[in-house]
């Protein structure tokens, strides 16, 4: 099974846009987190994700071969060209909602990177091996916070349950493969996404049980982010902030 450079580009954009959009979202807390320690921890996470973006989109640009850079891809594409899952573009909400979104993504991210370390494409395996060390820490931290707040006061428990109810319907998109995902799996470049679900459910189930939170019933999943078919309204608003500088002053650099 051979994969065209267009298809590989598309896949790399999915990985890079996930980390780019979530990294930007998390960076929105910088200077606003409830305590100094969390502020720095969130900024660290955001920086890790932006660093990973540089690797994914850097490789995407190289594969595309049209002379674009990672910066061009990040700052000069419009919303319909983004390939991130809908979960990561959801607004921060309160601190608990941000950490719930983080944990639901981190748990998937860890499983995905673990599998990508075995990728038949060595450059992808290399990026995954580098990123996984950061992500192992992300998921440890976000899981601890979800447990601490879920099993905390009645107020924090209420907020965490509301965050889980709101965000859980966005989990499905990460695991439901489309034609591109199937192609990547057949070529051994990426894992079969559906096969990652069992481990994810066990991991998330265990953390939610410790957090005394209840997973919502039903398998409904919002979709349309990674295919670029339909992003939520939030991504466009986010890009107006993130891309403002390059849009207002094209080519501006340090």
């Amino acid at each position: 099974m051979s994969v065209s450079s267009d298809q590989l580009f598309e896949f790399l954009c999915r990985m890079g846009d996930n980390t780019l959009v979530l990294g930007h979202r998390v960076s929105e807390w910088c200077g606003h987190a409830p305590v100094l320690e969390e502020d720095i921890a969130l900024a660290n996470t955001a920086l890790d994700l932006i660093g990973q973006t540089q690797m994914w989109l850097g490789l995407a640009a190289e594969v595309e071969g049209k002379g674009r850079s990672a910066d061009d891809l990040a700052m000069l594409r419009d919303v319909w060209d983004f390939r991130n899952v809908l979960l990561v573009e959801q607004p921060n909400g309160d601190f608990g909602q941000t950490l719930m979104r983080q944990f639901l993504f981190d748990a998937w991210h860890l499983a995905m990177l673990k599998a990508l370390m075995q990728s038949s494409e060595p450059r992808i395996a290399e990026i995954a091996a580098k990123a996984i060390k950061e992500v192992q820490y992300h998921v440890e931290r976000s899981a601890d916070t979800v447990i601490g707040l879920g099993d905390g006061t009645s107020e924090s428990h209420r907020r965490m349950q509301a965050a889980l109810d709101l965000l859980y319907p966005y989990v499905g998109e990460m695991f439901v493969p489309d034609a591109l995902d199937d192609l990547m799996a057949e070529a051994g470049i990426a894992p079969d996404l559906a096969a990652l679900r069992g481990g994810y459910d066990a991991h998330v189930g265990q953390v939610m049980a410790e957090a005394t939170l209840t997973l919502p019933e039903g398998g409904f999943a919002h979709k349309g982010g990674k295919s670029g078919f339909q992003h939520s309204e939030h991504l466009g608003h986010m890009l107006t902030q993130m891309q403002w500088m390059q849009r207002a002053y094209p080519g501006a650099s340090w």
Binding site: V35, E37, I40, Y137, D144
Partner: protein, 112 residues
């Protein structure tokens, strides 16, 4: 009971102050890449020891400073009192012979 705010005697005195929930303070010690011992680097707030280590990792080891972290709740540290300085430290000021500078250290000993 006299009001602490005697200039405004009509102001009702607040009898129960709202309880403020603060995370305890932790002191952070880090052993550097080349250091033999943990050194105090600062303090932070955290709900428990595990989170204190995580916070210390994020606050104090961002630039690859350490290979090991210790945290201890600040209330568990007993400190000498600054007013005891005289009796505690001054007696040793005049006893230079306590410094091991009167011996030649054999080269084989290496770093001491």
């Amino acid at each position: 009971m006299s009001s602490p705010n005697s200039a405004y005697p009509d102001t009702p005195e607040q009898t129960t102050k709202p309880k403020r929930h603060e995370w305890p303070l932790w002191e952070v010690f880090i052993r550097g890449q080349h250091g033999m011992s943990h050194r105090h680097v600062g303090s932070l707030h955290a709900p428990d020891a595990e989170m204190a280590i995580k916070n210390a990792r994020d606050v104090y080891t961002r630039r690859n400073e350490g290979v090991s972290i210790w945290v201890v709740e600040a209330r568990h540290i007993s400190a000498s009192s600054p007013s005891d300085k005289g009796p505690l430290y001054e007696p040793s000021e005049s006893k230079v012979y306590r410094h091991p500078t009167f011996f030649d250290i054999p080269e084989d000993v290496g770093a001491m």
